[in-house]
Symmetry: C2
Subunit: 208 residues, 2 copies
């Protein structure tokens, strides 16, 4: 009797199934990782699983911007050298890290925790939109403040941006969105028609 | 203050470090996996880490062949339809699974649990070689039995094969090793000189 589809042990099968549930990890990689972990000292494996459990059980989110944080208020919201009248609205924790990595932005953030998607069953009430609305309403003289909608350019992103715009437009706050156009270093020849068309329509004054 | 090299939370940093200790997983993938796990329901994460802990804490090895097993004797060693007088010696659990997947072998195995490697500090006493010797000695009329050395073709593999051969040659058992030569479908033009040279020297009778 060969193993065929199966693994030589039920414990190994369970571990491979669990590991292959991760995105981008197939059953072959999962087997490789399971056998790697099996060869490690037991403290190492417990440290590995402990760090993951710890993250998922004890993670906290900033009371103000809903970013992952060790404290009640995250390090960005607690930083008085940043511009607290510029609020950059993003889908996820990862987007904050991407924008921070550019070093080009010195305002604060608001993490929605997802994007409006009727197909995935995510509506406005599943996201931190009400919190954003309250945050904008609490700003003194909102007409001198700004909300930057840094959402993706697909249908869900546009829908979410439009929904948020409708929620906060009455406050008089300036609402902007990310510039769209050709990427730096992009070749005209390979640009899609929509991007190219929009970057002609939204052309900018040449600054030599 | 941007995050720079760091992550927004110490818990996230710990989890990313732990996940990126896996082979072939960089820090970017580790971050992606950590944020994925963070979005899962807590039971799912506990099931994931539990399956890994369970594997590493409770795994058992077959008393006879040292393969991963749920029982004291693995399903292959317990299978009386297999030829127990053919013992295929392999480096790892994974090799057993690879050979089983071919469906071409109907004997039993012996898992060494590694390979002799002075550089990595692995000597013969770290492997299940003594167990193999005792197993061979316990075979009745060993001259009708066979040990197949299915080890890799590099220096460590050859060294280990030679060491095992010296340990068991006195018993009169037949010792064979895997056929080496061009792979099926391999192009002569791209074969390395050593493989090509050996496959000329070890040429086989043409069977049309």
């Amino acid at each position: 009797m060969a193993y065929k589809e199966n693994y030589p042990s039920a414990l190994l099968t369970e571990a491979v199934e669990a590991i292959s549930s991760l995105p981008g990890v197939g059953r072959r990689s999962a087997l490789r990782l399971a056998l790697h972990l099996l060869k490690q000292p037991s403290e190492h494996v417990h440290h590995f699983t402990g760090a993951i459990n710890d993250l998922c059980d004890n993670v906290r989110y900033c009371r103000i911007c809903r970013m992952i944080s060790d404290d009640e208020v995250c390090s960005l919201c607690a930083d008085h050298t940043r511009d607290h009248r510029q609020i950059c609205v993003v889908e996820s924790v990862r987007d904050v890290m991407s924008i921070e990595a550019t070093g080009q932005y010195h305002g604060v953030y608001h993490v929605l925790g997802g994007i409006i998607s009727p197909i995935a069953g995510v509506g406005p009430s599943d996201l931190n939109i009400q919190e954003l609305k309250e945050r904008v309403q609490a700003l003194p003289s909102p007409e001198t403040a700004e909300v930057i909608l840094a959402l993706s350019g697909d249908v869900e992103g546009e829908t979410t941006a439009f929904y948020i715009y409708r929620q906060i437009e009455g406050s008089g706050i300036r609402v902007s969105s990310l510039a769209r156009g050709l990427g730096f270093g992009d070749d005209l020849e390979y640009a899609d028609a929509l991007t190219l068309g929009r970057s002609i329509a939204n052309r900018q004054l040449f600054k030599p």
